[in-house]
């Protein structure tokens, strides 16, 4: 089914500010996209180690437990509570594949780009999408990213996969992390 090429994990203090996340990213990027929300920042930090490592046409498959929480709160407060028009960038970012877009832009990839809403058990869902694309020769390889913001978390994992013969038994990240290279 798969061959695991590389993996990356990130566990941050949930109280880390967006400004600190931007600062961390800016140390690696010559040009920072503007007006990214917290989900996009976390996604980019998870994708960062894969820059220059991915084949053209690689697919990006992102799962998150929530849209960007602060962004969604601000939208509801502005639109429903205050009955004002939202800030355009807050609305655009609320379309959760905005994080995928920024990841594709940073990684200079123009292949398939999928976002799924999944918190508790995302790995089978992500891996099935990637497997379908690998099986149908739509992509040469796949980058799977999982972001967590709920329950006072700010963490995630990422895995680079190609077609191969290995299959996880329980669809846990730990299996991808320890799979034979």
């Amino acid at each position: 089914m798969f061959s695991v090429i590389a993996q990356h994990q990130l566990q941050l203090d949930a109280s880390t500010s967006d400004k600190a996340l931007k600062l961390q990213l800016s140390q690696h990027l010559s040009q920072m996209p503007r007006r990214m929300d917290r989900l996009a920042l976390l996604t980019l930090l998870l994708a960062l180690p894969f820059r220059g490592q991915l084949k053209p046409g690689c697919g990006i498959y992102l799962a998150a437990d929530y849209p960007s929480l602060a962004n969604m709160y601000a939208l509801l407060d502005t639109v429903v509570v205050q009955q004002q028009l939202p800030k355009p960038f807050e609305f655009v970012n609320s379309v959760s594949n905005a994080a995928c877009f920024y990841a594709a832009q940073m990684l200079q990839l123009d292949g398939p780009n999928m976002f799924i809403g999944a918190g508790r058990e995302p790995w089978q869902a992500l891996a099935e999408l990637a497997y379908a694309d690998l099986h149908c020769n739509v992509v040469p390889e796949a980058l799977l990213i999982r972001c967590l913001q709920g329950n006072n978390q700010l963490s995630g994992e990422a895995v680079q996969l190609r077609a191969g013969n290995w299959q996880p038994a329980q669809w846990q990240f730990s299996e991808f992390a320890t799979a034979p290279r």
């Binding site: 639109v79 999928m114 739509v138």
Partner: protein, 363 residues
């Protein structure tokens, strides 16, 4: 790609509470009535022409009727949910009724899946959000997962309720029509009108229950040009259409009908015009747009528009575009008869650089 069959298409839209009602109105060229239900919100939208229902009740009834019509158990199907807003409108209603906003109120994506799992034991539920290509991607990935042997059947549920965030968001971006006329590719087009919709379809590798269309394949990819607009020279749109043709081993000359995305926004229509001109030789295939009849149904448009199109094709000729002679692309000023089994290309584009192109045949 191995073709898959689309059956049990269901649609609730501004043209009617059922697909048959909508198709009947569509082939007569009937346009929906603009709904302005809230003076505090800018513009109007095309509301579903059926009694109002609680969102979760409506979705449950739609899923059940689809499963019943297909004589399938939920356990035999993967459920792919395609929507940009999911049930955020329910949270908006609670806030409008006076509940205080708090972070704890914000719903996790798993909460929506749990609301479906409480009634149905689908083999798995996946929530896809790639903006306005969500349903198109659900169809594509449904096909690929069937081809990969991961599931036996796929049920796609695509919907967009008229939430305040969505309505004000597009207004803040100055993408909504002020004239109240939805006219893609018209020189005086002035933006989109949102549409409410709820749609389902069953995908299977076998033609087991009166299929209405065949999905041959397609391609979906990310244009990193800009988060809200694709490259205006049409280069990425053209590349996606070319890849879709390549995936299905077809040539542009094989396409008999092109269903354009046609949002009626200045940038999107211009980019799509350029993309079409890059891919197709003259004369162009027959052209059609569906958004004037449904509104822009956002993440659901990949299914709602195809449901209306294929039901319309089964009932007769596609309606003439009232402003065909003024449009920037050569639409037909007369009703169009499309041959059975004709190859149809359907374009869907969205925020986040998502561009998708599907190739289908009517049954």
């Amino acid at each position: 790609m191995t073709p898959v069959y689309l059956s049990q298409l269901q649609l609730q839209s501004a043209l009617g509470g059922t697909l048959a009602q909508a198709a009947s109105g569509y082939i007569q060229g009937k346009l929906p009535t603009l709904m302005s239900d809230n003076a505090a919100l800018p513009g109007g939208y095309f509301a579903v022409d059926a009694p109002k229902q609680h969102l979760h009740n409506r979705l449950q009834q739609l899923l059940q009727s689809t499963l019943n019509a297909a004589e399938l158990n939920a356990a035999d199907c993967l459920l792919l949910v395609a929507s940009t807003a999911l049930d955020v409108s329910l949270l908006e209603q609670r806030l409008a009724q006076g509940e205080a906003l708090s972070m704890a109120m914000l719903p996790a994506f798993d909460d929506f899946a749990a609301s479906i799992s409480a009634t149905f034991n689908f083999a798995a539920i996946r929530i896809i959000n790639t903006a306005c290509t969500s349903a198109a991607n659900a169809l594509l990935y449904g096909q690929r997962m069937l081809q990969a042997g991961l599931y036996q059947r796929v049920l796609v549920l695509a919907f967009e309720p008229p939430g305040n965030i969505t309505r004000t968001g597009f207004s803040a971006l100055e993408l909504t029509s002020h004239s109240g006329q939805y006219r893609p590719f018209h020189p005086q087009r002035d933006g989109l009108i949102l549409g409410e919709t709820y749609a389902t379809v069953i995908l299977s590798s076998t033609a087991d229950k009166a299929p209405q269309a065949v999905l041959l394949g397609g391609y979906s990819a990310c244009d990193t040009h800009n988060i809200t607009t694709t490259a205006e020279d049409g280069s990425h749109i053209a590349a996606v259409m070319q890849q879709a043709l390549q995936q299905t081993a077809l040539q542009s000359s094989d396409v008999s009908l092109l269903k354009l995305h046609g949002t009626a926004t200045a940038a999107n229509d211009s980019a799509e015009y350029n993309g079409v001109m890059r891919v197709f030789n003259q004369p162009l295939p027959a052209l059609t747009v569906l958004k004037p009849y449904l509104g822009h149904t956002l993440g659901a448009c990949g299914l709602s528009e195809l449901a209306l199109l294929f039901a319309g094709l089964q009932q007769g000729a596609l309606p003439a575009l009232p402003y065909a002679t003024a449009a920037s692309l050569p639409f037909s000023p007369a009703p169009q008869h499309i041959a059975a089994q004709a190859v149809i290309m359907a374009n869907f584009f969205g925020f986040g650089g998502n561009n998708a192109s599907l190739l289908l045949r009517s049954c």
